[in-house]
Amino acid sequence: MKRLRKGLLLAAMIVYSTTPAFSAILVVSTKGDAAYKEGGHWKPLAKGQELKEGVQISTGVNSQAVLNIDEHMLTIKPLTMIKVYKNSLSKSASENNIGLKYGSVNARVKRIGALKTKFNITTPVATSSVRGTNEDVGYGPLSGMFIRVNEGSIGATDNNGGSRIVSGRSLYQLLWGNVRPENLASGLRNNSITLFHLGNITDEEKDALNKYGDQITDNFEDNANFLDTVAGRLTTVTVDLQWQPY
């Protein structure tokens, strides 16, 4: 009898700790003030709690909540409000749609076998569709929407129908009221203004400084300009890294 009890307990623990096989929104962890709305009232979220499609979640200062949505992990950062508009899982497809009203989230979307996976994060200005990737998405009325792709690639579609593929460490940013998103290299550009210490640069660098100025990266008009076209073909640049043995 004791063995049976132990076995049942073990089985229950395994079932509890593994991911759900059916469409489900499970609270993995919470920190600080994290709540969901039910019947017009905010109620505290608890670890292990299961939520339904249509749920609205809000976090406070110094707070966060981590959700497991059909094996995809969604971290809701401080001062954020989301709504799970769609959560469906069938034998052939997994479809989730998260509405981000304000704040920011991190989504780690798994590629589950041959399952057609759709994981959209929608803000008032654009939608990010993710498959097998890791991204940070944020929205606010002042800075608009941003998508930072940490791994893989995503498609971003704005409300005017314009779409872009964002990958690598590019930053997609669509400011509130703007029709087009900012240049994908804007983050790189804004972080690449270089200060030259004239007494400490080589002759070649001096020549380049005289020729191009100190904000060389500002010359990029759009992302495609990173690639040089020669006779209609894209030119690739190969960088060989060699580690010298000690």
Partner: protein, 154 residues
């Protein structure tokens, strides 16, 4: 009897973190997000929240924040229900974060240059004026950025 005790223990362990949460703050932020005009009192309450102060009543919180030099003496007597101006919020933010990025703000320390200092620090947009009225969701965004800058996101 032993199992009942265990069950009780498990319920308590799961219930304590949930019960410890402050739903008042969540409701305040959620309601604020729908406001077309944030009030001065909203900013006061928000600053109290991010600085970990208790917000028992507006008067006392204003006194506390004035003591910490976050609220200017001129604003201490302001009407709590008055619409929140960008300059007032920028001034509070600049003092809270001890911003010194903007030379003009460092010299004059007024609301106009506080907006510039906040724009330089990436908290606000630079193409806005000090007299603009802040909406509830704008206030949440600004406070989120302040929160991030003070390491609250980690």
């Amino acid at each position: 009897m032993k199992y009942k005790l265990w069950l009780f223990f498990v319920i308590i362990v799961f219930a304590i973190p949930a019960a410890a949460q402050d739903m008042g703050n969540i409701a305040f932020i959620a309601d604020l997000s729908a406001k077309k005009e944030a009030a001065f009192s909203d900013a006061v309450k928000f600053f109290a929240m991010i600085s970990g102060k208790k917000h028992a009543n507006l008067e006392q919180t204003i006194k506390d924040l004035q003591h910490d030099k976050i609220i200017a003496p001129a604003d201490a007597a302001a009407d709590g229900a008055a619409p929140l101006r960008r300059g007032t919020l920028a001034f509070m933010a600049a003092r809270y974060l001890r911003l010194g990025d903007s030379l003009m703000y460092a010299i004059f320390k007024n609301k106009r240059y506080a907006v510039t200092a906040c724009a330089a620090a990436g908290i606000m947009r630079g193409d806005t004026g000090q007299w603009d009225i802040i909406t509830g969701s704008e206030l949440i965004e600004v406070m989120g950025k302040i929160h991030e800058k003070t390491g609250g996101d980690q």
